[in-house]
Amino acid sequence: MTATTPAGGPLLHVDDLVVGFESEGSATRAVDGVSFSVGPGEAVAVVGESGSGKSVTALAVAGLLASPPARVRRGRILFDGTDLLALDPRRRRALGGREISVIYQDAMAALNPSITVGRQIAQVVRWHTGASRTAAADRAAELLDLVGIPDPRSRLASYPHQLSGGQRQRVMIALALACEPRLLIADEPTTAMDVTVQAQITELVGRLRRELGMAVVWITHDLGVVAGLVDRVVVMYAGRVVEQAPVRDLFAAPAHPYTTGLLRSLPVLDGPQERLVPIPGGLPDPAAPLTGCPFEPRCDRRLPECSAQTPDLVPVAESHASACLRATPEGERT
């Protein structure tokens, strides 16, 4: 199944998205003007620490934000040219459900504990294809096999709590694939796992992406996990995009102090063992209005004007942009 989009345009284009949360009188901006694109079949990582707005962005794209506390205040989410935010809820749900799928961090919570995995998958298959019960069951077994579950036929009758953590994650992936989506959003699916399972799942998603031509948006706080999986990286901080680059370029020549900080805090298994350097300080208060660069208080390369002027994303190299006042195409200015 290959992806097609009108004449070379991106599959997903998020344009200046602003999402706020309102509760008990206080309003916060979780996503503050985020833009990025994902081409058909492309894999993009969205990286940032907790609270950076990366999950909210992903859920907004998938249309799964809980609307009373959360509200999209501005922006467009273009999927295949159609602005999802402009659609009425039912069509949005139909379109989003079919074309965009999400896998989550907690597979046990994301699966209904009272329904067998086979039935949960078959239900989605039947809804989207109108297949008969037996055909849907067959397809469910196929999907379980596709995600690497041994003996898929007999696994159809299992309940989620009867499976191991890794298997549950695979089942969740199979469920996500049931509607043959063109875009898979992975919201920190491996964060709670040990490294071997992490590697297995990452490898699985990579394989599926190649076989099915699916685009992938992988949300994580750990750059190391996605290094071998994605084509491009979008770095988020405090609800804004601070850097975007092809993955190699990001690792080789980071153009934003936050990215540098992230890279420095990654443990490295080969090469000289250096001290891990954490980034001091914490995220800014999401309810306070923004003045200047959001990273400025924690930045070790800040300039006086950084506290007054909010940097825009500017290109510094081919397909590489950074929101730092010091970033220029010629390299970092002093």
């Binding site: 799964l64 919570a109 209904n112 009272s114 509607c179």
Partner: protein, 322 residues
Amino acid sequence: MTSYRIRRCLQAVPLLLGISVIVFALLQMTPGGPMAAGEGAQSQASAEQIARLRGRYGLDDPLWMQYLKWLGGILTGDWGASFNTGRPVVEVITERLPTTLLLTGLSFGLSVLLALVVGVTAAVRHRTLFDYVSTGLAFAGLAMPSFWFGLMLLFVFSYSLDWLPSSGLADLRFRHEGFAAFLDRAEHLVLPVAVLSLVSVASLTRYVRSSMLDVLGQDYIRTARGNGLPERTVVLGHGLRNASIPVVTVAVLAIPELFLGAVITETIFGLPGMGRLFVESAELRDYPVLLGILLIASVLVVSANLLADILYGRLDPRISYE
């Protein structure tokens, strides 16, 4: 899993025994005691007859032996005879049982239905006017004495509007046939069922709403929505399906409550059921019947609790498939 069920059933046995001991103790406290209970209040016995009766009832035996004999009688269907009519207690009670079963059954059905509809809707429309109003009504319903509710309903619908009859199960003026008979019966049951259901509708609705709200906040609901399933399937097929597991337990426990409530309802509406039999027997000091009904009601409560426990285990796959 079955070991859990067996264990629960076994736990119920000492409970039932304890209850039987208490009932036996109460029996001893009644004037005339077990002897009078056995023969009905056929007083005027000579000393010789009394001695013979005492021998017959083993009243000179030690207490524990009396208890065992009495228990044996209970288990074999000998519950003594009514003071009032002399007829066997079992007969008197079973005569009145169908009415109570009808009333309780209808109320149960109505309560569950209404609770599901209102509770689910209130949960889905959380924090809207419907939610607030229905929650408020449910809260008020729990505080309202059913007999007051009944009296007021009777005033409005029976006295003022004359739409519905005020008592009995059927029209006493003439015999209806076929469909007319059905309608007549229905007319007579509308108000009683409404009154009896008051408390159980209120509490069940609260539980359904609460359980649904819990479930709707779970991640798997979001997954189902994300997979494009229509809202109805998500709310009912995933939401209600899971939310109803704890609700079933509460619903089962509501059954004995309905039986108790029937006492009042049958009294207000003059229905010939077990509940009213209890009140009548109390007025007549007909202890054998009173104790008989008490025994039945207690067994019912214990059984309902047992059933609720077991059902919960069976319905939740996380428990039944260990």
